[in-house]
């Protein structure tokens, strides 16, 4: 590693780039541990109420559109792929493919959030399934269906909020990447946002079956 270049990207409190890189990655993983516990609180409440009011949760889950959910899952996994390719491009110092992959990730993320809001949330709102706003469902198990939809909107809402924050940070990184600030010896910001993005994808990987596929559709 050429010293002149290394000193520019090495923060003063670190000995060498390896220590800086490992610290950044460990810091990101510890932050992901806090995110696991943040979503964990919601998953714990969900697990308790699902066992208490299973018929209501099944009825609520059957009102969701599984195909849109599956497509959205595929979109999100696609954005994970482009994210990982972006990190690889940064490690190899290929500026152009880094920028294109970052933009692709932002696009796929925005598609996911758009499909979520436009085709699912708005649709459910029009059908009178938004608890607290206009919940008019009066079939059997009405109150636990309302509880299910409270969980549905809260969990997908918190997940969408994390997506939007991720897209915001990615936008900043695209500009910096365009200016060539990221290369083989300074890519921990890209790797950090990559870990965060994959984590948000994993949360959706668990949310999709737990919310859409309760009790099976037969």
């Amino acid at each position: 590693m050429s010293d002149s270049h290394a000193s520019s990207s090495l923060a003063h409190q670190f000995e060498d780039l390896q220590q800086q890189q490992d610290s950044a990655t460990l810091g990101m993983w510890v932050f992901l541990a806090t995110e696991v516990m943040f979503f964990g609180g919601l998953f714990a409440a969900y697990t308790i109420y699902r066992n208490l009011y299973l018929p209501g949760f099944e009825a609520g889950s059957h009102m969701l559109n599984v195909t849109i959910g599956a497509i959205n899952t595929a979109v999100l996994i696609g954005s994970s792929l482009t994210m990982v390719l972006a990190v690889r491009a940064a490690q190899l110092g290929k500026r152009n493919s880094l920028v294109t992959f970052l933009i692709l990730t932002i696009l796929l993320g925005l598609i996911f959030v758009f499909v979520k809001l436009r085709f699912e949330w708005l649709h459910d709102y029009h059908e009178g399934l938004a608890p607290g706003l206009n919940f008019t469902f009066a079939g059997p198990h009405a109150k636990s269906v309302e509880l299910f939809f409270f969980f549905y909107f809260t969990m997908t809402g918190v997940h969408a909020a994390h997506m939007i924050i991720g897209v915001g940070i990615l936008a900043v990184l695209v500009v910096q990447a365009w200016r060539g600030q990221y290369g083989p010896d300074r890519f921990n910001m890209i790797e950090g946002i990559g870990l965060y993005w994959h984590f948000v994808d994993i949360v959706w990987i668990f949310l999709f079956p737990l919310l859409y596929l309760i009790g099976g559709r037969y």
Partner: protein, 118 residues
């Protein structure tokens, strides 16, 4: 110095596997397995999550410490859900088995006719 770099092809392989698993879990939802539906859905979700963790997030090649951090977070999640459910599962159980009931703590009750008029 740059982190561990692996060929593009393996990323596409993992991407393909994830899509297949998504299709599988959606398909399995239309098969009537009774209570097993949930178990199957969760097992598939865990496989997908492990794939993303190992290959996309480079846990496979990273330092041991990162794996410990993730495993302890998951353990804490299991602690939260597990111990909270102890309360919710056992709340409807009768507080005390039958034979414990005649507790020796009862004070001597005066002659029955005076009290037990019921």
């Amino acid at each position: 110095m740059s982190g561990h770099v692996i060929p593009k092809s393996s990323y596409f392989l993992v991407f393909g596997a994830l899509l297949v698993l998504t299709g599988l879990t959606t398909g399995m939802a239309y098969v009537d397995l009774g209570p097993w539906n949930t178990v199957v859905a969760l097992v598939i979700a865990c496989c997908k999550a492990t794939l993303v963790l190992l290959f996309f997030m480079h846990l496979r090649w990273g330092t041991q410490l990162n794996r410990v951090v993730l495993l302890s977070a998951l353990l804490w999640l299991v602690l939260l859900i597990g111990i909270t459910s102890i309360d919710f599962l056992s709340r409807t159980w009768t507080p005390v088995p039958e034979r414990w009931e005649t507790s020796s703590l009862q004070a001597p009750i005066p002659p029955a006719d005076l009290l037990h008029r019921r």
